[in-house]
């Protein structure tokens, strides 16, 4: 079973990102489960949401504690949360950022990828400069990283979930698919 954790801030469409990705997994033959950690529902507050995907039926209904991969929709979160908490050794961490973090030590033992989802979202006029809507770009980058679900399934899921401005969102996902930067394994001793 694959377990993925998304980090974002209230208002960034973090929950919707996991729903779209779960739907895309389902379209390519996976059983899926996606759910948010509900706390204070405030714009800007840190939000977590999870996806489980498996070829077999999924019975477990607990929070995700040891994700295989992590997606961070807002790099400012890296200052306040431990994004690698419980992340399995060798798992990917995909960050919305124009460049890799200056200090790579907290990511040692994991694989790093980054994508400038803010810029892509603004190119496609999704959201405002102070609050770009990055969730579709992030799942586009995810599709490139893991090949599963493929981009066609991601595009279909976006069309279902965001019927308004679907094409702009799919365009953003495709750009992110093409532009995501794979840094790969970060060597060294983990100091986080």
């Amino acid at each position: 079973m694959l377990e993925i954790r998304f980090h974002g801030r209230g208002g960034q469409g973090t929950v919707i990102a996991t729903v779209m990705l779960a739907k895309a997994f389902f379209k390519v033959g996976y059983q899926v489960q996606s759910f948010p950690v509900f706390g204070v529902e405030r714009r800007g507050a840190p939000v977590e949401a999870y996806i489980r995907a498996d070829k077999k039926d999924i019975f477990i209904r607990t929070n995700v504690y040891t994700p295989d991969h992590v997606v961070v929709q807002d790099r400012t979160l890296l200052q306040s949360i431990d994004a690698t908490r419980g992340l399995k050794q060798g798992g990917w961490i995909l960050i919305n950022s124009p460049e890799p973090p200056s200090d790579l030590r907290p990511f040692a033992g994991f694989k790093l990828a980054f994508i400038d989802a803010n810029a892509i979202a603004l190119n496609h006029q999704l959201g405002a400069r102070t609050q770009p809507i990055v969730n579709t770009s992030m799942i586009g980058a995810f599709a490139r990283l893991f090949k599963t679900p493929h981009m066609t399934a991601v595009a279909e899921a976006i069309r279902e979930e965001v019927p308004v401005e679907a094409e702009a969102n799919i365009g953003a996902a495709e750009d992110a698919y093409n532009e995501v930067q794979l840094v790969g394994m970060i060597e060294g001793k983990n100091v986080s």
Partner: protein
């Protein structure tokens, strides 16, 4: 067709397919999504129903008492404090023998203010004469709404379809949403046994003297009892049409089990995984899911649990001064067996605390290793530091 749906959306789809005529509800987290979807369906004409906007949960259920008395199919949904506010009219609904169906999202009662999963809200209403069905996953919630209408209308008693906050209400998963034609075949239009009718005037719910009150209550008791048999027939019909079956209880890997864990709600799903893993290690362990809590199916529970040596009951609720409520009911069902298994009651997951695989495994090993039977509830996963402050 199978779609990835939120648990709340699965409820709304089932209500739409049940051709409900009157919906009355007041929003409360975590129930709100259910009535948001439904108000959308009513607003855009997908569901031809009246959606009554009321000022409280008490009015929500009271207005449905009026609507159901006029002989139409009705729906409401609530949670926690909202359900508590309905309490007076919950008794009225069952006493008036009205087949109202409610989706109840299990949420903790305040204070401390808490929006997360806990069964005490619905279990506090166990004596109100409502049938109670506890669900495990999104498909079961959708299917149970259909079963609930058939059952409610067959025995003239209201039914609560109960689901855990967030772990079920806000979880997206694949759910098969059936075609309208199939649902119509299973659930025909409601034919009321009595109704307000301007041409044939009757007095509903008048003063009832001691000469008749007991007989009325006895009739209700018989209807409750009969609902176990009715549910079995209705489920057979359901499985013939839809190919799915749940049962009032579900024994899972119980055949040669020496220890049986007893669960309800979403803890059941996680327990299935834990028990399969324990089986792979050679442990003789099984699981009994209790879906039907009112009426309590004592006889079949006795049969399912009787052969085990030890029973571990997991309650996401607590009755102060008594214990876990499922544990009380199971003990009462088992007490006259000559060779009664040892019964252990565990309290876990109150106020939405996660009931993890580790915690469930811990419950199994504790039960296996316990040599002395304790009748006290065993509270799992308490944080010792916080607890010590309270005690000092």
């Amino acid at each position: 067709m199978k779609k990835v749906l939120e648990g709340s959306h699965a409820v709304a789809e089932a209500v739409r397919l049940s051709r409900v005529t009157v919906i009355s509800a007041y929003p409360i987290t975590p129930q709100t999504h259910i009535i948001e979807y439904l108000s959308d369906y009513v607003a855009d004409g997908t569901l031809k129903a009246s959606f009554l906007k009321v000022e409280s949960e008490h009015s929500a259920i009271a207005s449905l008492v009026g609507a159901a008395s006029c002989g139409v199919r009705t729906f409401t949904s609530s949670s926690s404090q909202g359900l508590a506010l309905m309490h007076e009219i919950l008794h009225w609904t069952s006493g008036a023998r009205l087949p109202i169906v409610m989706a109840e999202v299990n949420r903790a009662l305040a204070p401390g203010w808490n929006i997360w999963a806990d069964q005490l809200d619905s279990l506090s209403q166990r004596d109100t004469g409502w049938i109670q069905l506890y669900c495990e996953h999104g498909q079961e919630v959708l299917d149970t709404v259909f079963l609930a209408y058939r059952l409610a209308e067959a025995v003239s008693l209201p039914v609560m379809v109960i689901m855990d906050a967030f772990f079920l209400s806000h979880t997206y998963e694949p759910v098969d949403v059936p075609e309208q034609e199939l649902v119509d075949r299973f659930l025909p239009a409601f034919k009321p046994k009595f109704q307000v009718d301007a041409d044939n005037l009757v007095a509903l719910s008048p003063l009832v003297t001691p000469n008749f009150y007991m007989e009325m209550r006895h009739n209700m008791a018989k209807a409750m009892e009969e609902s176990i048999l009715q549910l079995a027939e209705i489920e057979e019909d359901f499985s013939n049409i839809f190919g799915r079956y749940y049962g009032p209880i579900e024994p899972f890997l119980c055949d040669d089990a020496e220890i049986i864990m007893v669960t309800s709600g979403t803890v059941t799903g996680t327990s299935r995984q834990v028990i399969q893993e324990l089986r792979e290690k050679g442990e003789k362990v099984g699981l009994l899911k209790i879906k039907l809590f009112r009426p309590f199916p004592s006889e079949i529970i006795r049969k399912a649990l009787g052969p085990a040596k030890k029973i571990a009951i997991i309650d996401r609720n607590f009755s102060f001064g008594a214990g876990g409520i499922f544990a009380q009911e199971v003990r009462a069902a088992m007490c006259n067996l000559s060779d009664c298994p040892q019964i252990f009651g565990y309290i876990a997951g109150l106020g939405g605390r996660d009931v993890t695989t580790d915690l469930l495994e811990d419950i199994y090993w504790r039960t296996k290793k316990s040599e002395v039977l304790s009748e006290e509830s065993i509270w799992m996963g308490l944080q010792e530091e916080n607890h010590a402050v309270e005690r000092s």
